[in-house]
Symmetry: C2
Subunit: 154 residues, 2 copies
C-alpha cells in the first residue's frame, strides 16, 4: 500500500465516533421498535415504503435493488422472505428480458399503513425531539455534502 | 395503539432522509473498503479495535458484547468465526463463573495493525475531507445529544 496513513486528529476522531455512535444506537433502537410494534425488519420496511411510492406498487426487481443500493442477491433473499409472508408477490415476465417485477400485495399495504405512523412517532421521539430546528439543518447539510462527495469518487 | 401519529414535516423528513442516506452510503462504502483492502467485515474490525484497547488484548465475552451493544448470541457467532480464522482465541474459565474471555492473537494484532491506517485513510477521504472543521463540531454536538436523550428514555 503506497498511501501514507493520515491518522485522524483527536477532534476528528471524536466527531467520527459521535456520529457513528449515534447511527448505531439510533439504528438499533428503531429496528427494535419496528420489530416489536409492527413485526417488520428495517429491510422489510424499506422495501414496502419504496413500493408504496410507485404506480401500482410495482417495480422491477433490479430497479428496486438499485434504488436501495443493495446487491441483487441480497434483494432476492429479501423478496423471497417477504413473498412467503404474503407482503409482496414476484411477477415473472420472461417475454421482455428485463427481469421480474416485485408488487406489493393488499396485505403488504395494510402492514405498511399500520407501521408507518408508528415509525414516524419513533423517529420523532428519538431523532427530531432532542434537536432544535436549526440543528436539523446543520445535520442535513453536511450529510448531503458527504454523499455528493462520495458519488464523485465512485 | 393509543399514540396519535405525528407525521414528520417536510423539513424534518428531508433532514431525516439526508442523515439516513449518508449513514447507509458511508457504511456500505467503508465496509467495502475494509473487505477489499483488509479482508475484514465491519464487525471483525470493531472487535479487534476493542481488544487492542484493553490490557493484554483480553476481555470478558459479556463485557465485549456490552461495550459493542450486541446481543450475546451475535457476539458468540462472531467470535466463533474470528477464532476459526485465528484472529482471536476464547479462553474458558469455569472456576470463576463470570464466563469466558476473548483474547486477540498475534495474527489478530498484525491484521488490525495493517487495517487501521487504511481504514483511517478511508474515513478521512469519505467523511472528514468534505467537511469544514466547524462542520465537524456541528455534526458531533447534536449527535451526542441524540444519544444522551435516547439513554434517558431506555
Amino acid at each position: 500500500m503506497d498511501e501514507q496513513p493520515q491518522w485522524l486528529t483527536p477532534v476528528e476522531q471524536d466527531a467520527w465516533r459521535s456520529v457513528i455512535r449515534m447511527y448505531e444506537r439510533l439504528g438499533a433502537r428503531l429496528a427494535r421498535c419496528l420489530q416489536s410494534e409492527s413485526c417488520l425488519s428495517g429491510a422489510d420496511y424499506a422495501v414496502l415504503v419504496k413500493l408504496t411510492g410507485v404506480p401500482d406498487g410495482r417495480m422491477r426487481h433490479v430497479e428496486l435493488a438499485r434504488s436501495l443500493e443493495w446487491e441483487k442477491s441480497r434483494m432476492s433473499h429479501q423478496i423471497s422472505r417477504m413473498a412467503k409472508r404474503g407482503l409482496v408477490v414476484r411477477e415473472e415476465c420472461p417475454e421482455d428480458g428485463r427481469g421480474a417485477f416485485v408488487v406489493i400485495t393488499e396485505a403488504g399495504r395494510e402492514v405498511i399503513a399500520e407501521a408507518a405512523p408508528r415509525h414516524a412517532n419513533a423517529v420523532r421521539r428519538l431523532f427530531i425531539d432532542p434537536l432544535t430546528p436549526g440543528e436539523l439543518g446543520t445535520l442535513a447539510c453536511p450529510a448531503d455534502r458527504i454523499v455528493e462527495h462520495m458519488e464523485k469518487q465512485s
